[in-house]
Assembly symmetry: C2
Homo-oligomer: 314 residues x 2
């Protein structure tokens, strides 16, 4: 049996036919155009599912189900999407609407959860009993996979690892709390700290790299300057790694996964980031003589969304 | 079929025969005497299992298995106890040693996990899909129950909720890190903050209640003074509730359980504590319009250890 995986984003919708092993047989895309009513967007998703199926030389009879990764929160039990800020969606009966077009099982889950599921089927955490996927992007998302299945909690709002409180009374978060993990482990955290740092250190290579405009600082600039041993960038990078490592230690102490997978934009820093994070985690781990989670980089890249979504139906 | 549950403590060992519904049919106890070799202690546990079985009018043929709650970390997969500070145990082959005396399946798990399992079978979280038990004692222990089974992670060191980092760079913890949840949510935290507070506020009712000796302050004294509206005790209590609530919010954001159960010494403060914690959690919850975990007090009291241990074998 085959599955269709749909990666629903604010700009584009990607879909593909995926086999049992998590390999993509065909794929396609269509623009989201979020200003439209949700019914029109879902009709386009359904049409795209038909196209990728035909392109794989299959019919809908070969498809066991359709999985969809959504950049917001989902209730996997009801198929309703209570909140999706990127799409401006609120209480959208997603599965019900999909069933007006295609008579197949439809599963929805959060996009970070879906990416974590993809890695646990066909990526770096394949075969692990429990893994936690952390997306280091504008914010920090999380996916918890236990025994091969996504863990989304009792009300579908679990695995919001970015809003685990890491520093009570710390930096203000967009969620209204202070000190959330994502205030220390996102690309946004790197940019914030770099802007603060260059105020005092205008000689930093960061300033040259951003053309003298701190508004143009991004995480890549800071990490590249750190790799080149710019002292200001190194201080910012070390502070970032420290926050990320403390959050990972919390995750290990609560969930003790077999693998922790780092994905999202900041993870493009590769081994440079990974080595630093592993070393910092070692310093703070609780049971130093016991084995603990391997920390790894995500492997699947942009296709993770399609693969993981498809695996929701497996 | 019946089960035997064993509650292994630093002072005493309690055991009982428990039925499928989590009801105790017979129970007994014996002193631990931790200065002895582990083989002698385990021999006593086995003998106690025999006694409670006979007392229930049963034979070992009626017993499906023996579960044991241990005040340390366990590896439920291997039956080895890597660390148990209270007993001075290190790498004890517990299940193997038990099998020298009794030829029955033996399961071990952490005592907080076992207490959480008891509540999820026969207590306040009965029937819930996912629950988290938090013991508020000298430290803070945790038990995560998912789909009726204890979740102990990939290496048996999960659910160490007390060592989730709540305030990076905060109070020093016994584990070597700073700012662990238990530094803010244990009885020890209440005592520490009360001692600090009475240095500045010797007029506080806490001083009278402890006979003028801050070394004699305990959590009950502080909470009783708070209930009587002593301003200093109220400040300490409010700070405690704030730390506990922030940790609960982290747990909700990561695990989204159906029920969070508060047990351990501090939970004896009852509804006074519960009302305050619920109100503080409401302030900091992420998805304010979505349902979230109920916060409840543990119901089973001192028998939770026997009941939960027995349920490890169910």
């Amino acid at each position: 049996m085959m599955y269709i995986g749909v990666d629903l984003g604010g700009t584009g919708i990607k879909a593909g036919v995926v086999n049992q092993q998590g390999e993509i047989l065909s794929k396609g895309s269509t623009p989201t155009m979020i200003e439209r009513p949700y019914q029109a967007i879902i009709a386009d998703i359904a049409a795209l599912c038909g196209r990728v199926t035909a392109e794989a030389g299959l019919t809908m009879d070969d498809i066991a189900g359709i999985g969809v990764g959504v950049p917001g929160i989902c209730d996997p039990k009801t198929g309703v999407i209570p909140f999706c800020t990127n799409l401006g969606w609120h209480q959208i009966p997603f599965v019900e609407e999909m069933h007006k077009h295609i008579d197949k099982p439809v599963r929805v889950d959060n996009d970070a959860t879906v990416a974590g599921l993809a890695e646990s089927v066909a990526g770096v955490s394949a075969g692990s009993q429990a893994s936690v996927f952390i997306t280091l992007g504008t914010g920090v998302g999380g996916g918890i996979i236990i025994n091969g299945r996504p863990y989304s909690g009792a009300h579908g709002v679990g695995s919001e690892i970015g809003h685990m409180i890491l520093k009570m009374d710390g930096e203000m978060c967009t969620c209204g709390n202070q000190g959330c993990f994502e205030r220390y482990a996102s690309a946004t955290a790197i940019i914030r700290e770099a802007r603060r740092a260059v105020e005092k250190h205008s000689e930093s290579a960061i300033m040259e790299a951003c053309g003298g405009d701190p508004e143009k600082i991004n995480a890549k600039i800071v990490i590249d300057c750190a790799k080149a041993n710019d002292p200001t960038a190194l201080t910012v990078f070390d502070g970032y790694v420290r926050g990320l490592a403390h959050g990972i230690v919390s995750i290990i102490n609560v969930l003790d996964p077999e693998v922790i997978v780092l994905g999202g934009g900041v993870s493009a820093a590769g081994e440079y980031l990974l080595d630093a994070v592993r070393a910092e985690v070692e310093k703070h781990i609780f049971y130093k003589t016991m084995p603990h989670a391997h920390i790894e980089l995500a492997q699947l890249g942009p296709d993770a969304g399609i693969i993981g979504a498809a695996m929701l139906c497996k």
